[in-house]
Amino acid sequence: MAIIELKDLHFSYTAEEEVINGMNFIIDDRSTAIIGQNGAGKTTFAKLLKGLLKPTKGEILLNGRSTKDMTVAMLAKKVGMVFQNPNDQIFKYQVLDEVMFGPLQIGMDKAAARRNAEEALESVALSGLETTNPYDLGLSVRKLVAVASILAMDTEIILFDEPTIAQDYAGKERLKEIVRKLRSQGKTVITITHDMNFVADVFERTIVFASGKKIADDDTKSVFLKKDILERAYLEQPDVMKISTELGWQESFLTIDEFVGAIKR
């Protein structure tokens, strides 16, 4: 299990404005969602964690070692990141080759890379499409190819940037299964998202960013119960929680299963 520790983390693209403004927290073994309005600093944090950006002050410690001392290539072996738009990474003419690209880059041997790629494709339900050109697939399926290409790298930490965008119901359910499976394998799973229902369904811990600062950090249900915090961050509760609130119920529910269970009782 990987431990990520942010110590007085600061970052700015320009001298005038800080995008990350003194963050301190530890990401442990719980699956963690980072939420906040656009411009809150979520993607910048992800890029800092991946080593694509370097902190202007403070540091991120990965299992006790500062990411400042690690190159992007070194971090690629430890942190996998699924980018928002699959078109930003796909360049191979066959799905299998695309999924094998990452594992081969981080030094995996060909047989292991192929085995991992096939397993990853199976986990995103794309087995059978190995020889298909990714650009012949729809955007939602292409996105799953991008997810598989990161899963195949078998990193300790997996970071999803807006994974549910362009996904239909089946795709979202598949992603939820993947997150649960990764958790059961002891991996650290982090997501950056605007999809509150997705967060409520699978993420144990939620951190709220606003204007480059952490304004809430708790188990997911507790965070979604803090309406003032959500308002400050221009966020809303998950649908099920909104319904129970509108109905005037004392008890709040995070998922459909909890809600249905309460009705049945």
Partner: protein, 258 residues
């Protein structure tokens, strides 16, 4: 916040001048030195453009354009300096490479022309709102397609830079090296360029559809969002610059005849 356009409103008089006046400036800046055939005319126009860019508070934004073309300009200097057909007088040598006065002088002429064209276009692009420029073209009877293509060319540069940066991040995240020796860069070329091309094709298709569904090809007379504003300065510029171009042409003809 990143901007997709090269234009920035700095509130200067250059931002207020009509796009047509600035288009006339570009035509004049390029054609006057070409018509006169004097190197100093090109240098003079570069100086005028620099002053305008400084006054428009966008001189610093010109530097990346000059930086990008710097490699090409250096190549021109080296190739012409060493291999121009009329090379006779050696100026200096760097090891086995001998540079000649004639070739360097010829390359200098090319350099001045390129910098002049770049800087005069910067005066237009960096101080003119793309939509104003497009409206100006359509008002003058050009097809909206022409106007759209024209502004797309200038929007596509920052957009592709942005896309390229994201794609580089995505591939580096998968452990690919993008910096280092020439061999490393060549190896990184395909993984970087294919997503850029594919994204551009997808974006172009989507943009075409988005324009189509909003009546871009409608044959009805279009209504313009903004009123056309023509200041007194615009009137003077639009008379003075064509007169200057004509004067340069007449001067050159008289030189021929003399």
């Amino acid at each position: 916040m990143k901007t997709i356009s090269l234009y920035v409103d700095k509130g200067t008089i250059l931002n207020k001048i009509a796009p047509e006046s600035k288009i006339w400036y570009v035509i004049a800046a390029i054609s006057i030195p070409a018509l006169m055939g004097i190197r100093w005319a090109g240098i003079g126009m570069i100086a005028v453009s620099a002053v305008l860019l400084l006054y428009g508070k966008v001189l610093r934004r010109t530097l990346p354009f000059l930086g990008v073309s710097g490699f090409v300009l250096l190549t021109v200097l080296i190739i012409q300096g060493m291999f121009w057909w009329g090379n006779e007088t050696p100026l200096f040598a760097l090891g086995p490479a001998v540079f000649y006065v004639e070739g360097l002088r010829y390359a200098l002429g090319i350099l001045i022309n390129i910098i002049n064209i770049l800087m005069s276009f910067c005066v237009l692009i960096l101080t003119t709102k793309p939509s104003d420029m497009m409206e100006n073209f359509v008002r003058r009877g050009f097809s909206p397609r022409f106007g759209y293509v024209f502004i797309s060319v200038f929007q596509i540069i920052p957009q592709m830079t942005d896309t390229m940066s994201t794609i580089t991040d995505a591939q580096r995240s998968r452990g690919m090296e993008t910096e280092g020796s020439l061999a490393v860069r060549i190896k990184a070329f395909i993984p970087l360029i294919v997503p850029v091309i594919m994204s551009s094709l997808i974006n172009t298709k989507e943009r075409a559809l988005a324009l189509e569904v909003r009546g871009f090809n409608s044959r009805k007379k279009k209504t313009f969002l903004n009123e056309e504003v023509k200041t007194a300065a615009d009137r003077y510029i639009q008379i003075a610059l064509p007169v200057l171009i004509l004067a340069a042409a007449i001067w050159r003809i008289t030189q021929w005849l003399a």
